[in-house]
Symmetry: C2
Subunit: 344 residues, 2 copies
Amino acid sequence: MRLILVAGATRTAEVEGITAAGASRDLLVHTPSADAEIVSYGDTIRAPVTPVSPSGCPTPAVVTRAVRELLGFDVTVVDAGLAKPTGAPTVSVGARPGDDIREPDPVRTAPGAFAAARSYGRGLPDDRIVVGETIPGGTTTALAVLRALGEDALPATSSSLPENPVELKERVISAAFEASDIDPGQAAHTPELAVRFVGDPVLAVAAGIVAGAVESGTEVVLGGGTQLLAVAALVRHAGVPAPATLATTSYLAGDVSELGAAADALDLDLTVADPGFDAPEAGPLSAYADGVAKEGAGMGGALRLADEAGRLGEVRDAARTVLDRVRRRGDRDATADRGADGGS
Amino acid sequence: MRLILVAGATRTAEVEGITAAGASRDLLVHTPSADAEIVSYGDTIRAPVTPVSPSGCPTPAVVTRAVRELLGFDVTVVDAGLAKPTGAPTVSVGARPGDDIREPDPVRTAPGAFAAARSYGRGLPDDRIVVGETIPGGTTTALAVLRALGEDALPATSSSLPENPVELKERVISAAFEASDIDPGQAAHTPELAVRFVGDPVLAVAAGIVAGAVESGTEVVLGGGTQLLAVAALVRHAGVPAPATLATTSYLAGDVSELGAAADALDLDLTVADPGFDAPEAGPLSAYADGVAKEGAGMGGALRLADEAGRLGEVRDAARTVLDRVRRRGDRDATADRGADGGS
């Protein structure tokens, strides 16, 4: 068993108001690199920011790490276009950060990265993998990709914000189709072009890994929400029938009522795990239950593994332990920054 | 607990007859990348060669992986100038492959990589790390570095060959001091220049990680032989008193009689583990006992961990399991190659 975190960036995330992943631009661009470190080491080590909001809302990477500390499975981070250096070990597949999809041809590395990731996925010796993602702005590009594939029946995607900024996303997506001069459904038989013109490098790399893994007989669990639905659609449009499981959180499933139908349409088994973060003992973890960060960094997949092991009930305490550790580091960094600024 | 494998290349390895790591040039340049994959996945996945000689003599990475499969600790590979792509996840510290030390200024990235690795080592959250290396030709550059530091009392280094080609190494080292125009002992206060002028990038990165880890209170086990002695010397010459353990194999210790004295001189505790590869049940693993590959890829460090856990006696069977897996992949690759060539 190996959890593969596909981490990258799209400048689409810089559209004002489109994502909660990172309260400031600084936090935003460093979040995937920091998530990779938290999952790999249990703390940030090189990233200059800690992806925990001032209100204490933690990155879902904290939950994925907590489950890993409970169960001890392998984690591998694949660099799907990280914008900032990370101290986490990463696998290279030639991806670069994606541009804003309102620019023409924003993900030029997508076809090459898809092919390299597919070969990587094919070579994996594992019986089973869980695939997760971390990319701020990724729900918008996922929705655009579904539309480019002609998968209009699939649901509007979720959001990292309590109120999904649907109209804003629609404006961005329209501009993307216009900029790259393609029509909805036009990339149904060329999924790598759907990603290249209106997607992001994480979708390309995750789809490549899943396609290759399925082709070589590895069982695949897609750990996440609507971005992983887009990954499944890409795999299927690449001609690989993908018998996989979509494992998500109760918070995401509660937000997207059409999720079951969408999973059915893509032949995905859907499993939903509730880690009980709405209980008083959850402290700052209740931000998930409040809808601030419903999924991401493989959280749903990790919870599925905890559930299978009969240890879902231990996740809450384990996640609080990791969160306390990560926040201490954040406080230390903030103090060091103030020191460097000469006080105040 | 984290085992850190520092993997890289020096073109010094291409001097005919200097190393057994890789029977052919092809095997030689791919060995560190393949070792990284074996330790990370239990098999090669992207490397086109399997570092097992035709006689079945396996890379020590097989043993390190076997212990990892027994004990389940974390492994992180740091890219210290890999010459070929690897499917293993790697941490970047800005190192590039080293040139042949008979060329002037062969490791220009050494000072920068040392600094980045030191910062990385300082940030590690682990209580304890084991540091190992994989770099063909590395015993020659280690000997040259010890000499540049003025550590002449330290022993002649070991070799991956049954008969250590001492005279050849001495010729290469003399040429190195001449090419970079430095004298023995001249770099005693500038260890990063010792590595830059007569060393290799793995020494720079390993020394940086160890220095940073010690500075931040992490316990360090140096898992290896004379190359790790050179790492300890570099750390000490960088002004960091390094209370560490040197954990090596009985095969290496048997080959270098002065090892205990050298460890003493550097304030290192020396531990030696015997995995019993001379028994009939060891099969192809007996190549270690025969002196073909005495140490490397963190093998001594991994054996130390197995010993502490009271499971040293299980390593032989576990290593045979990994070796069988790796060889099957090698056979498959060879068959695929023949297929691609159109038969025969």
